[in-house]
Symmetry: C2
């Protein structure tokens, strides 16, 4: 019991975890919203969103609004599962 299960390295990152934490409670979120909430730089956020998308944890949709580019993110079922598993595993470390 209570062994230290490995923590998904993709989620064990402050910014990516914060993003997932936000997305899990929302239908979708815009790039700028995530940037504000996480207080990250655009560059860092862009890179980390890419990684989450490549892992299949989030979906990224690009469109235009008021002639401006608009990036919208949402968590996937895979992402939800990964997040929940990460949290479960983490509990062994902090309880």
């Amino acid at each position: 019991m209570s062994a230290f299960k490995p923590l998904d390295p993709l989620l064990h990152s402050q910014l990516r975890l914060a993003v997932m934490s936000l997305l899990i409670g929302l239908d979708e979120a815009e790039f700028t919203f995530l940037k504000e909430k996480t207080e990250s730089t655009a560059g860092n956020l862009s890179v980390q969103l890419d990684k989450l998308e490549k892992a299949g944890y989030i979906k990224i949709e690009k469109s235009f609004r008021d002639k401006r580019p608009l990036t919208t993110c949402s968590i996937t079922p895979m992402g939800v599962k990964a997040f929940e598993e990460y949290v479960e595993n983490l509990k062994n470390y902090i309880s």
Copy 2:
């Protein structure tokens, strides 16, 4: 409320967190015990213990037992505080 407070980078590491998690429940622990429990390599563990010690989070004592080197670790009050704060901050991310 529920802002993403920064996570102490020294604790936001799987192995170091596991070590702290073990030490917080014990008076002291031997190197080999930590190695077994965390399923880490000796090299990795050695490096991470060094970092925790340099941060003042743990105390490392070296002695001999049965003519063999014996490394014993214990958490410091500073370490306890840092761990507790880390856990508190982490909760914003996973709840």
